[in-house]
C-alpha cells in the first residue's frame, strides 16, 4: 500500500510534467530564439502593429456582439427542460469540431456577394469578403461555442431557489435575470468572454478563407512564412504570442477581482 501511495503522485507528476514541457518548450524556444532588438525592430513595422491591432480589435468586437446573442441562449440552455436542449448543445459545439478551413468555406458560402445574406448586407452597405466584418464573422463562428458553454455552466450553477425567491419577492423575470442570475454567473460568463476573445484573435483557418486581407496577425505570420521562410515569421510570432499572454493574463486578473460576487 505504502509503495502505491508514493509512486502514484510521482508517476503522474512525471507524465503531467512531460505534457507541460510539450506545451511550454516550443513557445519558450521560439521566444528565446529572437533577440530583443529584432523584436523591437519588428514591432516598429507598421504592417506588424496594424495586424496585431486588427486581430485584437476585431476579436474584441466579435466577442462583444456575439455576447448579446450568446448570453441569452446560454441562460435558455441552462434553464430549459426541453428535449431539444441536447441537440442544440451538440449544434453549438459543431464549429469547434469541424476543420476551421471548412468552417470558413461554409461561412463564406453564406455571406459571399452572390448569396442572399451577402446581397442583403451589401444593400445596407456591409461587405464581408476581405473586410474586417468578414474577419469578425469568421472569428465569431469558430469561437462562440466557448462563450456559450462557459456561460451556460455558470447559469446552471445558480441555484433555482434563488431565482424563485427573487420572483416571490416581487421581481419580474428581467429583474431576476439582471439582479440575480447574471451577477451570480458573471465569473463564468466573463471567463467565456476571455476564452472566446483569445480563441477568436488567434483564428487563422476560417479567417484566411473569408478575408486574406486586411491581414490579421495569424495570416501575416503565414504570409511571411510563405514568402520569406521560418526566420521572417518568427519575430511577429513572438510578438503576437507576447501580446496574447499579456491580454490573457490581464483579463484573467479582471475575472479574479470579480470572484467575490459568488461566495
Amino acid at each position: 500500500m505504502k509503495l502505491q501511495v508514493k509512486t502514484l503522485p510521482l508517476v503522474f507528476s512525471l507524465l503531467g510534467g512531460l505534457l507541460l514541457l510539450f506545451i511550454v518548450a516550443p513557445l519558450l524556444s521560439l521566444i528565446l530564439s529572437r533577440s530583443p532588438n529584432a523584436l523591437f525592430q519588428a514591432a516598429s513595422e507598421p504592417q506588424v502593429t496594424q495586424s496585431i491591432l486588427l486581430s485584437l480589435s476585431v476579436a474584441f468586437l466579435a466577442t462583444l456582439f456575439s455576447g448579446i446573442l450568446a448570453v441569452p441562449l446560454a441562460w435558455m440552455l441552462a434553464r430549459s427542460k426541453s428535449r431539444l436542449k441536447g441537440v442544440i448543445s451538440g449544434l453549438i459545439d459543431l464549429p469547434v469540431m469541424i476543420p476551421h478551413s471548412a468552417a470558413g468555406i461554409a461561412v463564406l458560402g453564406m455571406i459571399n456577394r452572390e448569396s442572399v445574406a451577402g446581397k442583403i448586407a451589401s444593400e445596407i452597405g456591409i461587405s464581408f469578403v476581405d473586410r474586417p466584418a468578414g474577419i469578425a464573422v469568421a472569428m465569431a463562428f469558430v469561437s462562440v461555442p466557448f462563450l456559450i458553454n462557459a456561460a451556460r455552466d455558470g447559469f446552471a450553477a445558480v441555484p433555482l431557489k434563488l431565482e424563485k425567491a427573487a420572483s416571490s419577492l416581487g421581481a419580474g423575470s428581467w429583474r431576476v435575470f439582471f439582479s440575480i442570475s447574471l451577477p451570480l454567473a458573471w465569473r463564468n460568463v466573463l471567463s467565456g468572454f476571455v476564452m472566446m476573445f483569445a480563441r477568436g484573435m488567434s483564428e487563422f483557418g476560417a479567417v484566411v478563407i473569408i478575408a486574406y486581407h486586411p491581414l490579421t496577425a495569424p495570416v501575416l505570420i503565414y504570409d511571411r512564412f510563405n514568402a520569406f521562410g521560418l526566420k521572417a515569421a518568427q519575430e511577429i510570432s513572438v510578438l503576437f504570442i507576447l501580446v496574447s499572454i499579456v491580454v490573457f493574463v490581464a483579463l484573467r486578473m479582471i475575472g479574479k477581482n470579480t470572484d467575490h460576487v459568488r461566495s
Binding site: P159, K161, L162, A165, A166, S168, G172, S263
Partner: protein, 349 residues
C-alpha cells in the same frame, strides 16, 4: 383570508388534491405530513411557481390562481438559505423595496425597522455566507416581510436549526400572528406543529386528510397515519367481537382489549393513549377493564417522564413519570402490569 378551492395538480405519477383550505387573517395554520405528501407542490401552487390543473386560489377575495409569483402578495421562507450570496444582509432585506417606488431614505428606514423586529440589526453589513443557520432564517423572514405579504409561507424553516435556535425562531414567528398576516407553515415535525398551530392539517398522498384544532386532531386521529404523525405509538389493527353489554372486545394478536362504543365492522384500527396506561408491580383491584401483564422490553427517558415499552402479547407503550419509573424499579426484562380503562381504547375511522 386564503381560500383554496378544489385545486389539483398532477406531476408525473403524483396527484395532488383536490385540496380545499380556508385560513382567516391572523391565523397560523400548520400542514403536517411526511416527505412526499405533496406539501412542497401545494406551496409551489400557492406561490405561483406552478399553476393548478383545476381549482382556484383566492387571497383576500382576489383570485391569484394564474398570477405569476411577482404579482401575488405571497412571501415564502424556505428550509435552506435562499439569501442572495452577492448582496449584504441589508441589501437582501432591501431587495423587495427597490424598484417599488420607495426613496433611498425610506428603504433604509424600513430595513432598519425590519432588522430590529427580526433581531438582525447587528448583521446588516454582513455577507450571507458568514451567518449561522438561525441568523439566515431570521434575515429570510425580515426580507420576506419587506415584501408586505398578505400570505406568509414557511417551508420547514426550522429543519436545519438546533434546539435553542428553534425556540428563538418560534418566538419570532409567534410575534407575526398579531399582524393579521395569514401564515401557512409546512412541516414534518409534530412538535413544531403543536407549538405554533392555531389550526392543523394533516397531509398524506396529496390530500389534507384531517383538519382542525391541533389538540383535537392529535387526540382524535382519524386514522393510523394521523396517529403516527402525532407521535402516538399504540395503534393496532384489531378483530372486533361485538357483545351486547355495551363493552366491546377487540383482539390484537389474540390479546383481548375491552372498549366502549359500537362498531359494526369486523376489523378496525384501535388507539390507546400512552398517558392513560398505568403500570404496577401486581394486579390491583381497580375499575380498569384492561389489565395485562408483560415484560419491559425497552424504555426511553423523555424531557418529562419515561416512555416504557411492554410486551403483553402486543407491544404496548406507556408514558409514566420519572418518580414512578424509579419507584417501580423498571428495567428491561422485569414483569409489570399495565392497566387502562375501556375509555382509553379508541376506535379510529
Amino acid at each position: 383570508m386564503l381560500e383554496v378551492k378544489h385545486i389539483s395538480k398532477k406531476v408525473g405519477v403524483f396527484q395532488l388534491g383536490p385540496v380545499n383550505l380556508n385560513i382567516a387573517g391572523g391565523k397560523h395554520v400548520v400542514l403536517l405530513g411526511p416527505s412526499g405528501a405533496g406539501k412542497s407542490l401545494l406551496l409551489e401552487l400557492l406561490c405561483g411557481f406552478l399553476q393548478p390543473d383545476n381549482g382556484q386560489i383566492f387571497l383576500n377575495n382576489k383570485e391569484i390562481s394564474r398570477l405569476p409569483p411577482n404579482k401575488r402578495s405571497v412571501g415564502i421562507v424556505l428550509q435552506h438559505s435562499a439569501l442572495f450570496p452577492h448582496m449584504s444582509v441589508a441589501d437582501n432585506i432591501a431587495y423587495p423595496l427597490k424598484y417599488a417606488g420607495w426613496s433611498v431614505r425610506q428603504i433604509k428606514a424600513e430595513v432598519v425597522a425590519l432588522a430590529e423586529k427580526c433581531f438582525v440589526s447587528h448583521l446588516l453589513d454582513r455577507e450571507p455566507a458568514s451567518l449561522s443557520g438561525g441568523e439566515i432564517q431570521r434575515v429570510s423572514i425580515a426580507r420576506t416581510l419587506a415584501r408586505k405579504p398578505e400570505l406568509l409561507l414557511l417551508d420547514e424553516p426550522m429543519t436545519s436549526l438546533d434546539v435553542q435556535l428553534r425556540d428563538d425562531l418560534r418566538n419570532l414567528i409567534r410575534q407575526l400572528k398579531s399582524e393579521n398576516l395569514i401564515v401557512l407553515h409546512l412541516t414534518h415535525d409534530p412538535e413544531e406543529a403543536i407549538r405554533l398551530a392555531d389550526e392543523l392539517g394533516i397531509m398524506d398522498a396529496g390530500k389534507i386528510i384531517q383538519f382542525g384544532d391541533p389538540a383535537l386532531v392529535f387526540r382524535n386521529p382519524s386514522n393510523a397515519f394521523v396517529a403516527k404523525m402525532a407521535g402516538l405509538k399504540n395503534y393496532y389493527k384489531a378483530i372486533i367481537q361485538p357483545s351486547s353489554n355495551g363493552l366491546q372486545t377487540a383482539f390484537v394478536n389474540n390479546v383481548a382489549l375491552r372498549f366502549n362504543g359500537n362498531c359494526s365492522r369486523n376489523a378496525a384500527t384501535l388507539l390507546i393513549d400512552e398517558s392513560q396506561i398505568s403500570l404496577s408491580l401486581s394486579l390491583t383491584d381497580s375499575s380498569a377493564q384492561n389489565c395485562l401483564a408483560g415484560q419491559v422490553v425497552d424504555f426511553h427517558k423523555l424531557p418529562l417522564g419515561v416512555e416504557v415499552s411492554l410486551n403483553v402479547g402486543i407491544i404496548l407503550v406507556s408514558r409514566i413519570t420519572e418518580e414512578s419509573f424509579q419507584r417501580l424499579e423498571i428495567k428491561v426484562g422485569k414483569t409489570v402490569w399495565a392497566s387502562f380503562k375501556a375509555s382509553a381504547v379508541r376506535l379510529m375511522d
